[in-house]
């Protein structure tokens, strides 16, 4: 017996078919996944972070598997805005799904240049600002590390962009709420959290770091409880919609983030394990709603009961 569950998620500036997006850096440019799932069954997807020019990335090894997790130090290797706009975006426009572009920059000017270029292209639903990638050199230093730098960057880009901005936060901060509030004050349309946790792995026998870049970002089920805590904290303190991510692997995980206050979620590392993970999660969310008499997924957002 299948009842109809309304899965649409409303971010205000963007209506999604369902609340499940594929996360940047784990879904390539989307097309890589076409053989394995129907892209139109997703709420949408966030393409791999784009700098203005092609980015070379870090020397290997770039990946280390840890207990229920993965540390990556890819270094945001990518094709740059021009190749993306000319070769990838026209193919993505064929799909009726929200394509969100993750925007990177080595400095504020580069972020602005990426947005200026992409603003002239069609077929993009929103920008996700990657102010939080810990792989960029200088020991993970990035705008996301202070409320001031977050505010300045978001304010500048909000004024420059014709599209909605989702600011993606780093969890590697003392107070995630402070940073979220700074982004909100600067005019961000939504907040996504969390990016990866700065991490390290070493080889005991050689006593060397396992990653070419020494440090990397930890993702996967290992980080889920911390991500969930941060999403709960932020969602209860800001008015803009929150997109929750960090270790989501099942429908249950996704629903927990929604209950904690996220209006939508992103599935990341799970896409590597099962290329069709995101659509499986949509199905699992739908089944749970059916079984629990939830007719609209929006009803459960932020319903966590903390006495």
């Amino acid at each position: 017996m299948t009842k109809n569950v309304d899965l649409t998620a409303d971010l205000g500036f963007l209506k999604l078919r369902n609340p499940v997006l594929a996360a940047s850096g784990t879904f390539g440019y989307g097309l890589e996944f076409e053989p394995y799932l129907d892209l139109e069954k997703l709420g949408g997807f966030v393409v791999k972070g784009l700098y203005f020019k092609p980015k070379e990335g870090n020397p290997p090894p770039r990946l280390v598997e840890t207990a229920s997790g993965l540390i990556n130090a890819i270094g945001l290797q990518g094709v740059g805005v021009e190749a993306f706009s000319e070769k990838v975006l026209p193919k993505l426009r064929r799909f009726k799904t929200a394509v969100i572009v993750n925007v990177c920059g080595a400095d504020d000017d580069e972020y602005a240049a990426v947005i200026e270029y992409l603003d002239k292209q069609e077929g993009i639903a929103a920008y996700e600002l990657n102010i939080s990638c810990p792989n960029v050199k200088a020991e993970g230093l990035c705008p996301a590390l202070s409320p001031r730098t977050t505010f300045d960057l978001v304010k500048r880009l909000k004024a420059a962009s014709r599209r909605p901005l989702i600011t993606k936060l780093s969890p590697n901060v003392t107070s995630i709420v402070e940073i979220a509030k700074a982004a909100e004050e600067a005019g961000t349309d939504a907040i996504a959290l969390v990016n990866t946790f700065l991490a390290m792995a070493l080889d005991l026998e050689t006593r060397r770091p396992k990653l070419g870049n020494v440090f990397g970002g930890l993702s996967g089920p290992a980080i889920k409880p911390i991500a969930l805590r941060m999403v709960y904290q932020v969602a209860s303190q800001v008015r803009v919609p929150v997109i929750g991510l960090g270790g989501i692997r099942t429908g249950t995980d996704a629903l927990e983030f929604l209950v904690a206050g996220a209006a939508a979620v992103e599935v990341g590392t799970a896409n590597f394990v099962d290329p069709d993970a995101a659509v499986r999660i949509v199905r699992e969310v739908e089944r749970w709603c059916e079984a629990h008499g939830v007719s609209e997924i929006r009803e459960i957002v932020g319903t966590v009961m903390v006495s």
């Binding site: 390539g28 990946l63 993965l70 990556n72 890819i74 290797q77 290329p275």
Partner: protein, 262 residues
């Protein structure tokens, strides 16, 4: 490329740390070409999290064969699977060795080091079918590291073995054995799979003799489908000497395009 969640492990052969699996997976079997690989799920839960890339050892209408060595937690868990168990595979993935119909009468060397022998059985069989005269060089540290000798011999594939400790065949590295044969015979192509050190010296040997080489690189992989950019190697191409994804552009690359770390 497909996800087969109902592949069935039909038969297991085992020598110490080495395992040979025969798997029912018709769709993957029909599609697979020599040099391609599959991503095998290790556990249903999140530990260990990632799939493991394994070369297709042979393929046909009913499915594929895999050959692997226990080398860590993932392969350790895989080694505990039993006949009849269900497997979850993605494949076939990557670009394999180049094979063409116009190779009849040519001469090929296939060089495998340790578990790197895995893709070369399928390749040697396909070369044989194209009437390419093929010699397989199979090297390992000791006799126990070259367990597939009989399989090649039974299939009538010309085989030369080497062991580092001299316990079987030529005493020394397989690359030295190849070097000796190259004095007598100049093949039209050398195919290889094995540890990086072996491949690097083989690439140099092939270049010195002016023989084209195709080398299958090994790497840990996050996804196997080109999405994570985790398995890169420096490869010379039209747009420069960038980090190139082994899973998508490889795992097989021309020897003269592979740049090795100092």
């Amino acid at each position: 490329m497909t996800i087969d969640r109902n592949a069935r492990l039909r038969e297991i052969r085992n020598w110490d740390d080495y395992f040979h699996w025969t798997i029912d997976s018709p769709e993957v079997g029909r599609e697979a070409r020599p040099g391609q690989f599959v991503m095998v799920k290790v556990a249903d839960g999140p530990l260990p999290l990632l799939r493991r890339p394994l070369s297709v050892h042979d393929a046909g209408r009913s499915g594929i064969e895999l050959f692997f060595k226990v080398a860590g937690l993932g392969t350790e868990i895989l080694s505990g699977k039993k006949p009849g168990d269900t497997l979850d595979l993605i494949g076939p993935l990557g670009k394999g060795f180049s094979l063409s119909g116009g190779m009849k009468g040519k001469r090929a060397f296939c060089v495998g080091g340790g578990r790197g022998i895995a893709p070369l059985y399928f390749l040697a069989r396909e070369l044989g079918a194209r009437e390419v005269r093929t010699t397989v060089f199979y090297g390992g540290r000791r006799l126990a590291d070259i367990p597939l000798r009989d399989k090649f011999e039974k299939a009538g594939i010309e085989l030369l073995c080497s062991t580092d400790d001299g316990s079987h065949g030529f005493a020394g590295f397989v690359t030295e054995l190849v070097g000796r044969e190259l004095v007598r015979t100049t093949p039209d192509i050398i195919y290889a799979c094995g540890p990086d050190a072996m491949m690097k010296s083989l690439a140099a040997l092939a270049a010195k003799r002016g023989v084209p080489a195709e080398l299958s690189l090994e790497s840990m992989m996050g996804c196997g489908i080109g999405a994570c950019w985790g398995c890169v190697h420096r490869i010379k191409n039209e747009s420069g000497d960038g980090w190139t994804k082994i899973c998508e552009e490889g795992p097989v690359f021309p020897g003269d395009r592979i740049l090795w770390p100092e």
